[in-house]
């Protein structure tokens, strides 16, 4: 094991073998993480609802995910008679592969990813946008009106929330002056970006919730009205790919991305080098693990708390609030970074002040929007005023 690890950690090796080993490592870690996350979410949400969660399979139900995996893999793979064969069979892969591809550009330790890309952030944003096509394929090919409705809703939602997400990470990459995730993380040696840019952080978390179709934004899945969204007709292994793997691998990837971009990943608070000597990589992994676990638990906590939004509320929130404020943040960042490039401290203070002010302004706008009387009343009042 040690030999293999050291091979992956920088000893010269055949390029293809190296890439293959890194890929294998990511695949194995991803699968284990997904199974652990499913168990953790069931336990955590159970406790929030004052239940125990899975308890029977293994001690405290720890083997529940393995039992579920065995069940899903051995289940019959049902396909509706009227389904479009190619689209139906391929849709799970089209949804899953982009999510997996985002994992390839993430530096889990300093300089250690499957590939260290100069345009890492751009690559991640570009690749994760493809998932929508998989949902649409699944919904269309199922030949089921609920699946199609869910697919169209998820297409609208994912495409809309892609934009604030891009603006949020863009605002941060402007500060780092780079799209390389290693550079962005290394730049946060003293102050993490979440302090400099609280508003983009909020936007990113909100957009992540929407991208993953989690609770306040689970309109595409909507069990109560759409049965199960684009994957109503799926079962067995295809369902586990399209649902479990995509959702939870996406959650994992996005939380690691957020930890790297906003919480300084393995850099903040103590710098990359520690007193662990040769085992620095373990220390870095631990930091990333702690930060991403915190984010994952926060996402689970949020999605266990809030009820579902309406479609128009969802769209209005994205296009009327998140997107304008994201653009404003990018604009202000540009001005600040252009004219305050001589003093680091002054720059940081101004960045924090402007982003904080924008956050307060956004909260105020949301407050006003929630205090508005319903649209019917406003239209009725306007019509009455005109006829009088």
């Amino acid at each position: 094991m040690g030999y293999v690890l050291w091979g992956i950690f920088g000893v010269d090796m055949n390029v293809w073998l190296d890439a293959f080993l890194r890929l294998q490592l990511v695949v194995v870690v991803m699968t284990v993480t997904v199974m652990a996350l499913i168990y953790i979410e069931r336990k955590f949400v159970g406790r929030i609802q004052m239940r125990l969660g899975p308890m029977r399979t293994g001690p405290y139900g720890t083997l529940q995910s393995i039992a579920d995996a065995v069940k899903l893999l051995t289940k019959e793979d049902v396909r509706p008679a009227t389904a479009d064969w190619w689209l139906f069979e391929l849709a799970p892969y089209v949804t899953f592969v982009p999510v997996f591809m985002t994992l390839l550009a993430l530096p889990f330790m300093e300089g250690w990813g499957v590939r260290d890309l100069q345009l890492g952030l751009f690559y991640i944003v570009a690749v994760s946008g493809v998932t929508v096509i998989g949902y649409l394929m699944a919904g269309w090919a199922s030949d089921n009106k609920y699946a199609l409705l869910g697919a169209v809703r998820s297409a609208a939602q994912l495409i809309s929330y892609e934009l604030p997400l891009i603006l949020a990470v863009l605002a941060v990459s402007m500060i780092a002056g780079s799209l390389n995730l290693n550079d962005i993380t290394l730049q946060q040696d003293t102050v993490p970006n979440v302090v400099l840019q609280p508003l983009p952080f909020l936007i990113l978390v909100t957009a992540t919730l929407a991208e993953l179709s989690r609770r306040p934004f689970d309109i595409p899945i909507g069990e109560s009205e759409l049965v199960g969204g684009p994957w109503v007709e799926y079962s067995g292994i295809r369902w586990s790919i399209i649902f479990a793997l995509t959702e939870y691998a996406g959650l994992w990837g996005m939380s690691i991305l957020t930890a790297l971009v906003f919480f300084g990943g393995w850099e903040w608070p103590f710098g990359t080098r520690s007193w662990w000597g040769d085992f620095d990589f373990l220390y870095q992994l631990l930091l990333v693990f702690v930060k991403s676990s915190f984010l994952i638990l926060t996402v689970m906590w949020i999605s266990a708390t809030f009820p579902r939004l309406r479609v128009d509320q969802l769209m209005a929130f994205c296009w009327k609030i998140l997107l304008p404020f994201g653009f404003l943040q990018v604009l202000i960042n540009g001005i600040v970074l252009t004219y305050l490039d001589d003093s680091e401290t002054a720059r940081d203070v101004v960045l924090f002040a402007t982003s904080g002010a924008l956050m307060v302004a956004m909260a105020w706008v949301i407050y006003l929007a929630t205090r508005q009387p319903p649209r019917e009343e406003r239209v009725g009042a306007a019509l009455a005023a005109r006829s009088a």
Binding site: F44, Q49, M50, L52, M55, W301, T305
Partner: protein
């Protein structure tokens, strides 16, 4: 906006509370004393025979007619060890038919029948409906083994 944060606080507060789940088949909630499962017969340990004299009062009162009772002369009365002239011979209750109305307990003149207030009275799944017709031995078993805390309205 404040409500959003407050709701997050509510879920976190419930998370820190103790779960209410009881792991049912391995762990039982304590049933109350006046819990009504199905009727069973009580056993008189002083004279070593059932309290029931087979007087048919419960059988006649039963609204769903789930009981069958027969009576015989009590051999112990002839010996002089028991005050009961008559004693129960055979007693069948069809638990599939019983609706747990408690009327049999209320009409009984000898406090010989009571509602089962243990979990054994509720866990009665069988493979054949016929197995739910229980005879005298089964009706007396719980009382004989002293596992029941009989609660008879007085």
């Amino acid at each position: 906006m404040i409500g959003v944060l407050r709701s997050l606080g509510v879920t976190m507060a419930t998370m820190l509370r103790k779960p209410v789940t009881i792991q049912y088949p391995t762990e039982h909630r304590k049933v109350p004393e006046r819990d009504r499962a199905f009727p069973i017969l009580l056993y008189d340990f002083e004279v070593d025979e059932p309290f029931c004299t087979g007087c048919h009062a419960c059988e006649r009162a039963c609204p769903v007619e789930c009981m069958t009772v027969t009576m015989k002369d009590n051999p112990k009365h002839a010996e002089g060890t028991s005050k009961r002239r008559k004693i129960i011979d055979e007693f069948y209750i069809d638990y599939a038919r019983c609706m747990r109305c408690n009327i049999c307990v209320e009409v009984c003149n000898f406090d010989a029948i009571a509602m089962n207030n243990t979990w054994a009275g509720h866990e009665l799944s069988v493979l054949d409906r016929k197995d739910l017709v229980v005879d005298l031995d089964q009706l007396l078993a719980l009382s004989k083994s002293k596992q029941i805390r009989p609660w008879v309205p007085s």
